[in-house]
């Protein structure tokens, strides 16, 4: 019966992948509608009920477009880069527990793929790999705009990777484990956001930068770099960047849910529903930020990361450690 | 040399300079209507008012009427002067209609410019406007008298400058009217200049009426190719169609003006039946196909792999580039060197001209204007080179004397002495005239050679009373002259005359230290053609002989209507029948093109940048005006132009003839890659060939004379007869001659020129006419051996006896006469009475 576990795993993979991509695709529509609301517009409302079919229309359009490869581009890297972005975003979800788990025919079916004992480190590691997609796309396009976008992306994502990791250190300290399941379990009594509001804020800001969402979309900055690292991309390759970005938003949302909001835990409703609701909080905040905040300058961005976020995160770690020593 | 200050800038100008010119030298353009540097000042328009602040004149004065003097301080933009000019403009505009949108002058109208710049923008005059009725004044110029501002420029130009009287000012005061007494075509062949000169839209270009504004035009400096003078023009094209030509100022060639033949003769470029596709046999083909097929026919005929021997005939109307390319083609293919004149007479006369003309003798038209004694031999300037007549008129206006030795009825718009001498006696008359105009002592003082030559000249001559009087008048003039100029025609003169004229010019040059020699040549680049023929010793007669003998079986004719130009139709037809291959390159549809086995379309002067050498050896460059292609007007049918995307320009196949030659050289795989690998600069400049004068590798080349400092032929070698040759009794001499309108091959195809040309008529002396029983308007039937030629006759007193002068019109089958200068027995002329109603 060893292959039954394998089958269940495959089914889970398919279901989660499908749900994730569908959600990501709908997130595009949600973002456009919400952004329109923030700007007192209507947003896409033509295709289907209130524009609900818009993602499919976009999908069809993007699939039918010509796939251009610029002259002088490094063809292999150019073709590979979008895949790196999309897959690394999807890979992140492997360790995220999205429910309590249930028993099927006597088998315990956990609501996650694998419970790595270094799950948090895995998350950090994979999200660093996502940078390669941006950097290589920028470099291989043989375009100065793209190259600038790639360079900025590299610098920005390394910087904010640091503060992201540091903001999670207190969580690990409090949970006593890198495993995401353990972290969720550690929040059985109260979600960590109550004791780690500063950590949550740093995490949120780093999340924006990691997902290069406005106001931290310096690598794309369409009004100065014309789209930055993906200037030269078209068709579904561009689509992969797009999907990657929105899946990334969802993944970061789910990480926020796991690390700070208590995971799938919640009263009344089933765990998965709670989880989805919590997951959507971060994308909403990101969209709101996009509507509210202007884009900082590149140097301002770097200065904020290094001179503000990282010191505060370090202080937060020391403070948490001190308090844990005092009371724990 | 007065020094004065204009607008705070100091300037020193020669004595007698007007203030308006002094300002222009400083770059200050004082507004003016009636002032024109060629016509002088009359102070009619009052627009050039400036304020004289200090000095001999004070206050508001007309700058065109005031000579520059010392210590003058002039302000052109003084408020008072500006107010004055503004007031003048307002007055001039009072009766001017409100019709700029429908006026063809709009866009390059001086009145418009001055009104706007003068600041008069709202009409305050509320009264009624004066009106005039317009006249029909011919096919060239449109008349719209309501627009007139009475600056008198038109009448001053027409009457004073060109010497015609039929356009005049009528009435007085504000009712002054410029027009003819009765509507009708303007007599002056320079009437087109009214269009340029009128500061507003009274006289506008009729053929180009409504066709486009100045700013729509593709404009380029061009050179007129309708006679050998090479007048400078500005060509205007729009929608791939030549619409208008304007005179371009050239200090040494044509001054400010051009003749109507040059201005309106461009119509051949727009003809709907102009061939635009290459033809193999009678089948249309693409350019490359045709060139390849032609190269095949030339190489592998008779099954042999060597090249077919081909005779090449260029033309005097082709550009220098084409002529030179032909020489290179023939040279590298091992063919006989090309000929350029179909007419053997033209060929030998022009070669003489090229050998004799040098830097010491040649004069430009500007220098003719300064001459004080002008003698034209065998030339009819108004018909053969109209602008020359205008230059001669300026000389006469300046006090010079002019004479013409010519059997034809010569009309010139000024006082001159006409010596209607039969063709055979012209040289004798010239010799006698020069002899009488120079004292023996003067000739002896000028050296042995001169004295020897002088001694041969005939002292005595038997002429009619009137002619003798004319000779003595001219001889008297020659005695007092300091700047004599000899003009020698080439159309009807005997072969030896150009040589003789050059000898006389040398004679006068030695005696008076200065004497100009001015030839009239047949064709825009006849000079270049003659240079090439002279250096290669080639002639079409030899080629024709070789064709008749069967030595040559292919003939390539480039931009030459051989059938129209060769004087003996029957001989030519026989020779052409013997040919295996007739290749024609041309931009016109001619009988020669119709006979061609291979045809390649070429471009006109307006579609190619090209060089021409005019009759005084001046090299000039005509720039490309527009791209090759069928005019949009011919494509659009009745309605709007087609709306379609195409790869190629419709009708865009024609290429410059030299480009065709280059393509052929490439297809034949000849050893002359410079023809098709680089531009004309590389092969016009080489040390080989006749064009050594292209020393610097500059293309387009700089304008300038390219004559040798000294001619290759030593002077005073002409053989001179003491006795006049007597005309043959019982026969009539027939001269086929050029006309201002209708006889020159290119301009004769132009629609307005066709409308302006007079009906074909043969001039005959009334006494000859009465002997033949002909009266004015009757038709004469000339029974030549090859066929009959019927033409109405016009009686003219002012011509030699025993002569029939027939215009060489393209539609007149004059080649049936069989010779260039045929004689016809009187009994072979039959008369047909004019039908009277």
């Amino acid at each position: 019966m060893w292959f039954l576990g394998f089958v269940i795993l495959l089914i889970k993979l398919a279901a989660v992948l499908g749900a994730l991509v569908l959600l990501a695709v709908y997130l595009v529509w949600i973002e456009r509608r919400l952004l329109a609301k923030f700007e007192t517009r209507l947003g896409p409302n033509r295709a289907g009920w209130h524009g609900a079919l818009q993602p499919f229309a976009d999908g069809v359009k993007i699939l039918l477009k010509e796939d251009l490869i610029p002259e002088g581009a490094d063809r292999f890297i150019f073709m590979m880069a979008p895949a790196v972005v999309a897959t690394s975003a999807l890979l992140l979800f492997v360790v995220v527990p999205f429910g309590e788990g249930f028993t099927l025919w006597g088998r315990r079916v956990p609501m996650l793929f694998t419970d790595l004992n270094v799950g948090l480190l895995y998350v950090v590691a994979i999200s660093t790999v996502a940078v390669y997609g941006v950097v290589l796309a920028g470099w291989s396009s043989n375009s100065l705009y793209s190259l600038l976008g790639g360079i900025r992306g590299a610098a920005q994502m390394i910087s904010y990777e640091l503060s992201l990791g540091l903001s999670l250190a207190p969580v690990v300290m409090m949970a006593g484990s890198f495993s995401l399941v353990d972290i969720v379990d550690a929040q059985a009594a109260y979600p960590f956001i109550l004791v780690q509001p500063v950590g949550f804020l740093i995490f949120l800001v780093s999340t924006m930068a990691e997902a290069h969402r406005l106001p931290f979309d310096i690598p794309e900055a369409e009004n100065e770099l014309m789209g930055g690292y993906h200037t030269e991309y078209s068709g579904m390759r561009f689509g992969l960047f797009f999907v990657g970005e929105y899946v990334n938003m969802l993944v970061l949302g789910s990480l926020a849910a796991v690390f700070f909001l208590g995971g799938w835990r919640g009263p009344l409703l089933p765990g998965v529903v709670w989880f989805v609701l919590k997951v959507l909080i971060v994308p909403f905040l990101l969209i709101w930020s996009r509507a509210a905040l202007p884009r900082p300058r590149y140097d301002q961005l770097m200065a904020f990361g290094w001179k503000c976020l990282i010191p505060v995160a370090l202080v937060n770690i020391i403070a948490t450690g001190g308090l844990m020593l005092l009371f724990g | 040399m007065p020094r004065l200050i204009i607008d705070n800038q100091k300037i020193e100008v020669p004595e007698g300079t007007k203030v308006i010119d002094a300002a222009e030298q400083l770059g200050i353009m004082i507004p003016r209507f009636c002032y024109h540097s060629a016509l002088g000042a009359v102070g009619a328009c009052r627009l050039c008012a400036v304020k004289f602040l200090e000095g001999p004149v004070q206050g508001i004065e007309m700058s065109c009427m005031t000579d520059a003097r010392d210590d003058m301080v002039v302000s052109t933009d003084d408020p008072e002067a500006r107010a004055f000019r503004r007031f003048i403009i307002e007055c001039l505009m009072m009766n001017h209609p409100h019709d700029c949108p429908v006026c063809d002058e709009g866009g390059h109208c001086l009145l418009q410019d001055e009104t706007v710049s003068g600041g008069h923008d709202i009409r305050r005059y509320k009264g009624k406007k004066r009106t005039f009725r317009d006249q029909y004044i011919g096919p060239f110029v449109q008349h719209e008298m309501n627009r007139c501002i009475h600056c008198y420029l038109c009448v001053r130009f027409y009457q004073e400058f060109t010497g015609y009287r039929d356009l005049a000012a009528y009435q007085i005061g504000y009712r002054v009217y410029y027009g003819r007494f009765e509507p009708g075509q303007l007599e002056s062949p320079f009437s087109g200049n009214l269009i340029d000169i009128c500061p507003t839209g009274v006289f506008t270009d009729k053929p180009a009426r409504y066709r486009g504004r100045r700013w729509n035009m593709e404009r380029s400096p061009s050179v007129c190719i309708h006679c050998s003078l090479g007048c400078n023009t500005v060509a205007n094209a729009r929608y791939r169609e030549m619409l208008r030509q304007e005179a371009r100022l050239s200090e040494s060639v044509n001054g400010h003006f051009i003749c109507d033949r040059g201005r309106f003769g461009f119509g051949y470029a727009n003809l709907p039946d102009r061939p635009r596709r290459a033809e193999i046999g009678k089948n249309e083909a693409s350019w490359t196909e045709a060139v390849r097929a032609l190269a095949n026919r030339l190489t592998i005929s008779d099954g042999a792999s060597e090249m077919k021997k081909t005779a090449v005939l260029g033309s005097a109307r082709s550009s220098l580039e084409t002529q030179a390319a032909l020489a290179i083609l023939a040279g590298s293919a091992g063919w006989p060197m090309p000929a350029y004149f179909a007419d053997p007479h033209q060929s030998s006369v022009c070669r003489t001209v090229v050998r004799r003309l040098d830097e010491g003798l040649a004069v430009s038209m500007k220098e003719i204007e300064r001459a004080d004694w002008i003698l034209a031999v065998g030339a009819d300037p108004i018909n053969e080179a109209p602008m020359l007549a205008l230059a001669m008129r300026q000389a006469v206006r300046n006090g010079g004397k002019a004479g013409v030795i010519d059997p034809r009825p010569v009309f010139l718009p000024f006082d001159f002495t006409h010596l209607p001498i039969p063709r055979e006696q012209m040289e004798f008359c010239l010799n006698h005239l020069i002899h009488s105009g120079i004292a023996r002592q003067e000739a002896d003082d000028a050296g042995e050679a001169v004295a020897g030559f002088y001694a041969q000249l005939p002292e005595e001559a038997e002429f009619e009373e009137a002619v003798r009087e004319g000779i003595s008048t001219l001889a008297e003039g020659l005695k007092q002259s300091e700047h004599p100029v000899l003009i020698c025609g080439t159309d009807i003169v005997p072969l030896s005359t150009p040589d003789l004229a050059a000898d006389h010019a040398h004679l006068l040059n030695r005696i008076k230290n200065t004497c100009g020699l001015f030839y009239i040549l047949p064709g825009a680049d006849a000079f270049g053609a003659a240079m090439l023929e002279a250096s290669a010793e080639s002639a079409f007669e030899d080629l024709l002989k070789a064709i008749e003998d069967g030595e040559i079986t292919a003939l390539m004719v480039v931009e030459n209507d051989l059938i129209g130009a060769y004087p003996n139709r029957k001989r030519l037809e026989t020779a052409l029948d013997r040919l295996e291959l007739l290749i024609v390159l041309d931009y016109l549809s001619t009988p020669t093109v119709d006979r061609a086995d291979f045809f390649l379309p070429t471009t006109t002067v307006f579609e190619t940048g090209s060089c021409f050498i005019n009759q005084e050896g001046r090299l000039q460059y005509a720039e490309q005006v527009h791209a090759v292609g069928a005019p949009i007007r011919q494509l659009r049918g009745r309605s709007h132009p087609p709306r379609e995307h195409r790869d190629e320009v419709p009708g865009g196949d024609p290429r410059p003839a030299w480009r065709a030659v280059a393509d052929l050289v490439r297809a034949l795989d000849l050893d002359e890659i410079r023809l098709y690998t680089s531009g004309p600069e590389s092969w016009l400049t080489g040390s080989k060939g006749p064009f050594r004068f292209f020393q610097e590798k500059i293309y387009p080349p700089r304008e300038g004379r390219i004559l040798p400092a000294e001619s290759e032929v030593a002077p005073f070698k002409s053989s001179i007869k003491k006795e006049a040759k007597k005309p043959e009794a019982g026969t009539l001499d027939i001269l086929f001659v050029d006309r201002t309108f209708g006889a020159e091959a290119l301009s004769a195809l132009s629609e307005p020129i066709r409308r302006a040309e007079p009906a074909a008529a043969a001039f005959i002396h009334p006494k000859d006419a009465s002997e033949l029983g002909l009266s004015d308007g009757d038709s004469a039937i000339l029974r030549f051996e090859e066929g009959d030629l019927e033409i109405p006759v016009a009686l003219n007193n002012d011509m030699a006896r025993g002569l029939l002068v027939i215009p060489r019109k393209p539609d007149l089958e004059w080649q049936t006469a069989g010779a260039r200068f045929p004689r016809i027995a009187r009994n072979r002329i039959a008369g047909v009475r004019k039908e009277t109603e």
Binding site: E39, R41, W288, A292 | D99, P101, G106, T131, N146, H640
Partner: protein
């Protein structure tokens, strides 16, 4: 060399306030009703002088106004107007034998209308004429010519021009009889 070091607390406070304001304002807008007008269902009535599709109008006599003076094509910044004028055979009047506007190039700046001396060319509020084919944007005279006088129904250029269109010189209200050349009377 003295430099004003910003007060870090004040600075931070203002930064926080700025961010807070931004979020607050966007949230207020989030809750407002959208101002969007939905186009095909609701068409906003345009002012008469708004600039849309170009027409060629006729004068009060029903004759076409355009005299093909080329001023509109000269002033057109995108060179989208081309035409050729000609003489009408019946009365020698100047008119456009063809007149073409390439609306794919036109930017509706209205300069042609300002330049037109005969008030022939006018812009209309019509803006709904999309095409799939670029060539369908090329409008010929037949497509442009309308049967009315547009915004200026009463103007007739030839009444003021001073040149004849129909009839003799001096026939218009502001003109005197033509001068008689052959008369000696002053």
């Amino acid at each position: 060399m003295t430099r004003n070091k910003p007060n870090i607390w004040k600075y931070s406070l203002s930064a926080v306030k700025g961010i807070y304001d931004a979020y607050a304002v966007s949230m207020i807008n989030f809750l407002r009703k959208p101002v969007t007008e939905e186009y095909p269902e609701y068409k906003r009535p345009l002012p008469e002088r708004s600039r849309g599709r170009i027409i060629l109008t006729r004068d009060p006599d029903g004759d076409e106004r355009c005299v093909a003076c080329y001023l509109c094509s000269a002033v057109c910044p995108t060179s989208c107007i081309s035409m050729e004028s000609a003489e009408r055979e019946e009365d020698g009047r100047r008119f456009a034998i063809w007149f073409r506007i390439n609306f794919a190039r036109c930017i509706y700046c209205g300069q042609c209308e300002e330049a037109c001396p005969t008030l022939a060319i006018q812009l209309t509020p019509d803006y709904e004429f999309c095409q799939y084919e670029v060539l369908d944007f090329v409008y010929e005279k037949e497509d442009l010519l309308v049967d009315h006088g547009g915004r200026h129904p009463d103007y007739n250029f030839y009444r003021h021009a001073g040149v004849t269109e129909k009839g003799d010189k001096g026939a218009h209200p502001d003109e005197e009889e033509p001068v008689n050349l052959k008369s000696n009377m002053p």
